[in-house]
């Protein structure tokens, strides 16, 4: 290995090839580039023009330089250049890689793998075998990695196949395995550790030290593995706790909750105080959203330990309502059940029925409206259920007020009820006081218009105040509650419907009920009498939920807390599709702690991304690029890149690369300028019917826009506006085709094929005349297009509108609605019916009528005198479907019938078309000619 600062060469003897560069230099210099081959008829005149005995043509120096560079880079690539080379491995025996592949390794897994691969590469260069020892038990569905001495390439394959496991390492077993290794000594041992203490770590370290020199590589403290404990529920909040191995400064980590499809629902933070190894935080999310959270993860720490799966205990809150569902008497608004159902339906799973029905199901909260107070028989079962952790919410009402000795209430009640603001009372309906901080309703906003008109009153007593969760403005309790056994008994001192208050129809009611439901414990999946749950989905090392591997054991429910995650029972969800129990890693492993004792004499290192980089492939890539460039240049020198010749004819060789880049820019600008010039010329030419010879064709390939301009200007062309109606457009095209044929045959106007013009996109100014069939489908032109049309008309263009509806439009007054729409926004000059002696009737043929497919009607043209354009009308409007008459097929026969005049009328239509084109091209010239006599007379005078 040859090191030059940060660059080194693994096979430096290849650099000796650089000595051959001068030879290559001379060879390249002597080889002339191949000549271009050109076939040339006038070769007779060339023969003998240049004597053969000239000095041989040399390669241009820049090409020579390029090729030398190419060869140099190739040789350097062969020498295997390395960036940031690392020193050779100590020792002489094999390299032993001890890898912690338990759950704690997962967050740093890719770095660890790369680190291991780099070590393998170094071993490969030193031609030393590799031994790989993993400390975590292998997964059930995984082949045990190859043990013993491996060739480096085998080792690399093993490393690539290695994955972190979702369970802790077992260093005791690993120590035994190391003890059984029989390898030549002294070896060099690198222990890629996860940084966590575990039983028998010391013994493992000693066994490693017995093999030879030991290097312990552990993750940086900022990357140390962390554990997320299963969260606890406190009302609406999820309390989350995380642990880290050592209290090394303040730290804040983010916890995110996602749903079963991986969408992020909640995000909270856990703060570690500087020395603490445990930190807590809360996730405060609305209940209905919280219920969708299926897992919590520490952000940026992908491991089974940093993930807590939430099972149904955190989510499902079935609510039972005593009473009858939607009775048939047709007055739901009087039913208490109706209000409760409507308030809770979106958030909880509801069961309505009598106590037996409701309690038979899984129920977390039982709502008891006044009208459905359980009878004595049922009451016992309800109380029993409540004491096991149920929440009973009772609502007051006339029946409760009337019962003297109902003791199924949190506080003792006075007999009778209290009416506020009734006809016979001086008071007014009471509002609700703000909720006190200790109340579960604390923080809810009390609507100002919530009023209680009637309530049951608590008998004053010492404990009433403690039991009160909500009060009226006058201090009397509105909600009282008492903890009974594991559960709660809650009494709302008014009714669940609107007979005693209006809170049942306020948002507050919904919020209060939700808080009460959140109070309850979740209902765990029904084990159905099973003692063990089948694995349903388990976590892999990267905390992904996957199908459990074959051989995974069921989770015993009674000893669930003592099970340690291992290959047979990985963390995950156990149960079946309907209900699962989460088995999390966090609360089944000891709290993480840093490794206490390292083997004596061990050197330490931290896992790093950076390492030596093999630059060979980059050098080869550059060489390949240069080779391609050389190929291009060679092709160019041989004249096989046609367009490059004219472009770089005058470019000096040194500017070649620059020219290649800049050429594109220059070429575009140049072409734009040419096009503009040509455009002006064309406009000038068109006003006087110029038949100048076509400009010499240019060699550069044009882009589409220029192509259009060239197409439009190299020949005189008739143009029509695209309406979007394919049929009309086809007829326009065929019509102008037919008219063009006639023009070529009879006049000196030789138009090219007609061009379709899109008023929104295309340049109008290229055309002397636009044929515009009016359709109702065509969209009104945009403002930009309007401006373009206006400019076109004001700079000498002529638009011939054809409403194609015979004389309906123009004969009886009133403009065609579509024409009006299309012309809106254009400065239309006043129009008059075409006078019978107008130039249009004598521009080529003498015409008395202007028929198209139909005859009759008149043409409307810009009123005489013409503001611009030398008195030539800019707008001509006809209605006889002219293109329809001009449209002919290949054999020269008309495509569409012409009425009433038949072919004679078609001929007249053609003559009108000829006149129209002549008018567009020659303006009023013919008018002047007709007045020649007058002019002559005037001149003579």
């Amino acid at each position: 290995m040859l090191a030059l600062g940060t660059l080194a060469f693994a096979t430096p003897w290849m650099l000796a090839l650089l000595l051959s560069l001068p030879v290559i230099y001379f060879l390249l210099r002597l080889m002339p580039p191949a000549p271009k081959l050109i076939r040339f008829p006038a070769i007779r005149l060339l023969l003998g023009l240049e004597p053969e005995e000239q000095t041989p043509v040399r390669l241009p120096w820049w090409l020579l330089l390029l090729r030398m560079l190419l060869v140099t880079i190739l040789i350097l690539a062969l020498a295997r250049p390395l960036l940031n080379p690392q020193s050779e491995l100590p020792g002489s025996g094999p390299l032993v890689l001890a890898i912690d592949d338990g759950w704690a390794a997962a967050p740093n897994w890719s770095i660890m793998q790369r680190h291991a691969e780099r070590l393998t590469e170094r071993a490969e260069r030193a031609k030393r075998p590799v031994v790989i020892v993993t400390t975590a038990p292998a997964a059930l569905d995984e082949a045990k990695p190859q043990r013993g001495l491996l060739r480096p390439d085998e080792a690399r394959a093993v490393l690539r196949a290695l994955k972190p496991k979702p369970w802790p390492v077992d260093r005791a077993a690993a120590a035994n395995e190391v003890g059984r290794l029989t390898i030549p000594k002294p070896a060099h041992v690198v222990w890629l550790s996860d940084g966590l203490e575990s039983p028998d770590t010391a013994r493992f370290g000693e066994r490693l030290a017995a093999l030879g020199t030991v290097e312990v590589v552990s993750p940086a403290s900022s990357r140390a593995p962390m554990v997320l404990m299963p969260p606890s529920l406190a009302g609406r909040e999820l309390h989350v706790t995380a642990r880290r191995p050592s209290g090394d400064g303040p730290r804040r980590i983010a916890v995110q909750g996602t749903d079963d499809r991986g969408a992020l629902l909640a995000r909270g933070f856990i703060d570690f105080s500087p020395t603490a190894t445990e930190g807590t935080g809360t996730l405060n999310v609305p209940t209905e959203i919280r219920n969708r959270i299926v897992r919590l993860d520490i952000e940026g720490h992908t491991s089974a330990g940093a993930t807590a799966l939430l099972d149904e205990r955190y989510r499902r809150r079935p609510v039972g309502i005593l009473g009858e569902k939607q009775t048939a008497n047709g007055q739901p608004l009087l039913q208490e059940v109706f209000f409760l159902e409507r308030a809770l339906e979106p958030y909880a799973q509801l069961t309505i029925g009598d106590a037996a029905t409701v309690l038979n199901r899984q129920t977390a909260v039982l709502l008891v409206p006044d009208g459905a107070s359980p009878g004595p028989a049922e009451r016992d079962s309800v109380i029993e259920w409540m004491k096991k952790g149920g929440v009973v919410v009772r609502f007051a009402g006339p029946r409760l007020a009337a019962s003297a000795d109902d003791d199924f209430v949190p506080v003792k009640l006075r007999l009778g009820d209290r009416a506020l603001g009734g006809v016979m009372s001086w008071g007014s309906p009471a509002s609700i006081a703000e909720f006190a901080p200790g109340s579960p309703f604390y923080g809810l906003r009390v609507p100002e218009d919530a009023r209680i008109t009637q309530q049951v009153l608590a008998e004053p007593g010492p404990d009433v105040s403690d039991k009160t969760w909500a009060r009226l403005a006058d201090g009397t309790p509105l909600v009282t509650a008492e903890k009974r056994g594991e559960g709660w008994l809650v009494l709302i001192h008014t009714t669940a419907n609107t007979s005693w208050s209006n809170i049942a129809i306020s948002g507050l009611f919904v919020d209060m009920l939700q808080r009460l439901v959140a109070l309850s414990r979740g209902v765990a999946g029904d084990a159905g009498g099973q003692t063990a749950l089948k694995p349903w989905k388990t976590l892999d090392g990267f905390a992904r939920l996957v199908q459990p591997p074959l051989g995974t054991l069921p989770l015993p429910l009674d000893q669930a807390s003592s099970v340690v995650p291992r290959p047979q029972s990985p963390p995950g969800l156990y149960g079946d599709e309907s209900s699962q129990v989460a088995f999390n890693l966090g609360n089944h492993v000891p709290a993480p702690a840093p490794i206490a004792s390292l083997p004596s004499g061990a050197t330490t290192d931290t896992l790093t991304e950076a390492g030596e980089t093999d630059l060979t492939k980059w050098f080869l890539t550059v060489a390949l690029c240069l080779l391609l460039l050389d190929l291009l240049i060679s092709l160019w020198l041989r004249g096989m890149l046609p367009s490059a010749r004219g472009l770089t004819r005058r470019a000096t060789p040194a500017a070649l690369l620059l020219a290649l880049v800049a050429g594109v820019v220059v070429m575009t600008a140049d072409r734009a300028a040419q096009a503009a010039t040509e455009l002006e010329e064309k406009q000038l030419a068109q006003s006087t019917l110029d038949r100048r010879p076509p400009p010499p064709p240019r060699q550069t390939p044009a882009d589409p826009a220029d192509e259009m301009i060239l197409r439009a200007t190299l020949e005189t062309r008739l143009a029509y506006i695209v309406t979007g109606n394919a049929e009309v457009d086809n007829i326009s095209r065929a019509g102008l085709d037919g008219l063009g044929e006639i023009l070529r045959a009879r006049t000196s106007v030789e138009p090219g094929d007609p061009i379709a013009v899109d008023i929104e996109k295309d340049e109008l100014r290229l055309f002397p005349l636009l044929y515009w069939p009016v359709t109702s489908e065509q969209a009104t032109p945009s403002v930009k297009a309007m401006a373009a049309i206006d400019r076109y008309l004001k700079t000498g263009g002529i638009i011939f509108f054809d409403t194609r509806d015979q004389h309906i439009t123009l004969g009886r007054g009133g403009l065609n609605a579509d024409l009006k729409r299309l012309l809106r926004g254009i400065d239309v000059p006043p129009l008059v019916a075409m006078p019978s002696e107008h130039v249009l009737t004598k521009a080529f043929y003498l015409l008395s009528d202007t028929p198209g497919r139909w005859s009759g009607g008149r043409l409307w043209i810009e009123a005489g005198g013409g503001r611009i354009n030398d008195g030539v009308a800019t707008i001509i409007i006809g209605a006889n479907d002219f293109a329809g008459a001009w449209a002919v097929d290949r054999a020269g026969r008309g495509t569409l019938p012409v009425s009433p005049g038949g072919e004679a009328q078609r001929e007249l239509a053609f003559r009108f078309g000829v006149n129209l084109v002549m008018y567009a091209l020659t303006g009023n010239y013919k008018d002047d000619g007709v007045h020649l006599n007058d002019i002559m007379q005037r001149l003579r005078r």
């Binding site: 000549p35 008829p41 006038a42 023009l49």
Partner: protein, 301 residues
């Protein structure tokens, strides 16, 4: 840069199918443009000009009786036209492979251009009442079908030695016209032999040299291997730009030689570049023919 020659069979098929050959269409278009330019020109050599009336004799065709004149008197008159042999024009174009050359987009093959001019000229001549024929082909004919016949003749190679760069020396009647259209790049001596041969038969001739712009300008650069189109072999030139001057000199010498040769025998010589419109060449050729017709011919020894 060299277009493959269009298969003769395909062109024959086109003609046999009855469609107007595009060549002929182009030629007619060119001809009609030029004709408009020379509109009103005095026509030469009509064969149907009125000469005299004479009395009807036995054996005259009834068709020839001029009824109007006869109605004026008692005798029956026959209208006699001036007997004048229409000039016959033999047309020839270079069909050698070197004519199948174009230097780039938009520039037609030299041969294509030569044929267009040939047919357009034929159209004009026929219009003026002359007889036209391909050199070495059928007898001179007139009438509006003549250009079409010529087009067919060209397409079916009905010329003598249709692929040579110079025409053979054939016996032609004196006072005939010969039009040679080609690149005329052969050695001057060979051209002179042919030209003088025809001139000595009393034939008036017109040379039209059709050259591609690349042949005029030699617009190449650098190291180039030139390869002839008629098996002249290759020629390697290291720096074309260095020989451009010399090439131009040689080309000028060739042209000057042709011009001198033509004037020495009373013929005309015109040059034409294929990137220019054919109308100009046609017009100048046509007018030159008229001039030749008007001028007393003094052809050299």
């Amino acid at each position: 840069m060299v277009r493959p020659d269009e298969p003769t069979a395909l062109r024959q098929a086109n003609i046999l199918a009855g469609a107007l050959p595009p060549l002929l269409v182009a030629a007619q278009r060119v001809a009609s443009t030029v004709l408009q330019g020379v509109h009103g020109r005095r026509r030469v050599g009509q064969g149907d000009a009125f000469w005299q009336f004479r009395q009807y004799r036995q054996g005259d065709s009834i068709n020839r009786i001029d009824w109007r004149q006869s109605a004026k008197g008692r005798a029956v008159y026959v209208r006699e036209t001036e007997w004048e042999a229409a000039a016959s024009v033999w047309l020839w174009r270079d069909g050698s492979p070197s004519m199948a050359f174009t230097s780039g987009r938009g520039v037609p093959l030299k041969r294509e251009r030569a044929e267009v001019i040939l047919l357009a000229l034929a159209t004009l001549l026929v219009d003026a009442g002359e007889r036209v024929a391909l050199l070495g082909g059928d007898r001179p004919i007139t009438g509006h079908a003549a250009p079409r016949r010529l087009a067919e003749g060209i397409a079916t190679d009905a010329m003598v030695r249709p692929h040579d760069s110079l025409p053979p020396l054939l016996p032609l009647p004196s006072h005939g016209h010969l039009v040679m259209i080609g690149d005329l790049l052969d050695p001057l001596a060979k051209i002179e032999e042919i030209v003088r041969g025809y001139a000595s038969q009393g034939v008036r001739g017109h040379l039209l040299q059709v050259l591609d712009p690349a042949e005029e300008d030699l617009p190449y650069d650098g190291h180039v291997r030139f390869s002839g189109l008629e098996k002249e072999g290759d020629h390697l030139i290291r720096r074309v730009e260095a020989v451009r001057e010399a090439y131009g000199g040689r080309l000028r010498a060739q042209k000057d030689g042709l011009a001198q040769l033509a004037s020495s025998v009373g013929w005309t010589w015109r040059a034409h570049r294929t990137d220019r419109p054919p109308e100009t060449a046609l017009l100048s050729l046509y007018i030159a023919m008229a001039d030749v017709g008007a001028r007393p011919v003094r052809w050299g020894a």
